[in-house]
Symmetry: C2
Subunit: 450 residues, 2 copies
Amino acid sequence: MKPPPIDQETVRDMLRTATPDRVLRFIGQRHPADIAPLFKGLEPLEIRQLFDILFSARRAAKALKELPPELLPDILAHIDDEKVGRLIVRADPDDAVRFVDGLPEQRRERVMALLDPERRAEVRELISYPEGAVGRIMTTDFMTLLPSTTAQGAIDKIRERGEMETFFYLYVVDETGKLVGVVPLRNLVIAPPNRTLGEMMIPDPVKANVLMDQEEAARLVSKYELLALPIVDESGHLEGIITVDDVIDIIDKEATEDMYKMVGLAEEDRVFTPVSRSVRMRLPWTFLNLLTATLAASVVGLFEGTLHEIIALVTFMPIVAGVGGNGATQTATVIIRGIALGEFEFSSAWKAVVKQVSVNICIALAAGAVIAVAASLWKGNPYLGLVLASALIFNLGLMAGLAGAVIPLLLKALKFDPALGSGIIVTGVTDAFGFLSFLGLATLFRGYLI
Amino acid sequence: MKPPPIDQETVRDMLRTATPDRVLRFIGQRHPADIAPLFKGLEPLEIRQLFDILFSARRAAKALKELPPELLPDILAHIDDEKVGRLIVRADPDDAVRFVDGLPEQRRERVMALLDPERRAEVRELISYPEGAVGRIMTTDFMTLLPSTTAQGAIDKIRERGEMETFFYLYVVDETGKLVGVVPLRNLVIAPPNRTLGEMMIPDPVKANVLMDQEEAARLVSKYELLALPIVDESGHLEGIITVDDVIDIIDKEATEDMYKMVGLAEEDRVFTPVSRSVRMRLPWTFLNLLTATLAASVVGLFEGTLHEIIALVTFMPIVAGVGGNGATQTATVIIRGIALGEFEFSSAWKAVVKQVSVNICIALAAGAVIAVAASLWKGNPYLGLVLASALIFNLGLMAGLAGAVIPLLLKALKFDPALGSGIIVTGVTDAFGFLSFLGLATLFRGYLI
């Protein structure tokens, strides 16, 4: 079924001992998607060797484009400018942009200067679109035909044109280049030879503006189950297409981003990212976390008197904080994923908040009952159980639901990513509020607890 | 570009006041993907009305299949058996299975009994595949041809066959039904009319066994950038296909699962899932969380003596626990996402563990230095700063990296989902270990801290 993976250790051995020709014979016939993973975890010298072998067989661009974009910088860093330039010239336009994006700012200019003027202009146009815009990742390798073309004429044109990256729909444009319809390839196949595209096209197809957010465009493709989405400029001229395999990449990237941003990870921080880069990317979030934890700690500091009097309280603090923290993270996860999958409109967000708080209140009542009984039996003081349960209900029931639902929505309203650091923020809030409610109640009723 | 969404409030008003015909005229021409979201958040009576209107126009199956599967049960619950039966008969085979899956066990049998024998056998076969197997979601609506068929013969067959759900490749089978090759539609278009499929097919194409895990099959489609994946039985007979839009659904589902399972959420628990169902699904995890939090609490209980002596220690406990917890969750997230995206082989997992622990040690050294200085200044005792920093380095540096990396890998090795409750487990571990290291060190050096 699935072709067996090429054994990376064998390839490493061969890079060390065999001739480039033998290595190429061993891996050259494999699908680029099977070759790409070989680059992961290689030493710089080995990266250069493997690249050179693929490059000489004109397979380097196809293989490298299969790598997740966040791994590209670490590989391109070991390849010299001239070769990167030739890689960009040989690549499909959208892959060329991906390679250019994988270079540091300064090097980018140097490499661009090595390109022929035509390709340079092409790449410049694509990278002129803002990061995250669908124009930046579209392919400009597509085929347009006039409405007056016949089915047979279209088939002849396809035959002439030869290899194309992707090909599921014929795009029909008017004389000015404005997109007026699409013809699925299937319809072309079964059409009478002299029927015109204008007669058989689907008029006014789903399309996206070059500036549309990539995720939004991906959701259009997924919603309408398209294989490719035409991308147009302000005046409706066809500028490019994105295909369903791009869409899968975008959806994967989006999901990773959501998971990552919640806990304060940068998207480039992967299993085998060099330690120093991972550390640099995680440090700012660790300091934010130190700050939120210090906030929670300072709340505890307020109650040192009560704690000194009733030291047993200390034992229960982690319960109120921990359970509240997970409740808040659960709620934030539901909201963040709901936003990503378009499960609710921003205008009905308040309903989502009400619902999440209700769920948390029910859960807190159940958990509170259990913990009240357990703590009463353990410490032999029913008042302690009551205080603990009340604090849990405040923290898990009210604060966790509220913070978990409101913070991602607030981040979104402020035009941030709704997931951005939300895990760190909501657990900071529930830690602080958990301590406040538990130790506050304990101070109020301390007469009963001693 | 994107058609404006149908306003749900307008539709609700119309359901209340207008004739079914008028409602149908208002929504009937829209894409099923635009109609489906209207079902969200309706009252039971309204659900029945909207369903009946779509059903009478034979649009109900197409619309309902666009809903995320976890929303289906709540809608089907309001439709009577006979109509659900007719819905299943009219649906494409793979959608039929989705509807059957949306019924509770008991009702399923009742509805199945209403189907015609042929459709019943078809559905029974598909639902006989285990949950999560690709056979369960494949469509059996595909076209096979013999290698001896000519290009023109194939085009004639396509014309005869008419409407098909999805259609990008022709599948070529031998006389016994064994898959021997595929012909991309594009190649068919440009082939000379008398060329045979056997001459132009891609032999031995990428395929999946009916029992292959859905996620694994989805990753095959994404890796090789296919539009459809043929699904075969043990002997290589073509049984069905999955298409790229199924793959997008699987990838979305997989990402949701990963995010959800980490924090103890069931996949069906969405923004607008009824409160009672959300509560039922989250409660078991809340109790697990109570348990892990109690474990951490009992560690604190061991040190009540030290705490009573030096009450200032209490203030710093949340810092050691909180920062360790987030470090562990970060690491677990990187590992879980790395497993999902196939970023590393299980055999090289130890490298990933070493890398993650290294990152955490570096971060812990930096955070430890900051907190040592801050705590020393705040409480005027450098030893306190040293104890705190050491505990942070133990907990965030060693335990967070180790637990965060090892627990998901261990879950996977035990054939669980690597994300399953991992957020709850790793934060429980770092809470407990954080208190142990901090209060343990403080007890050892308490002479310097008083």
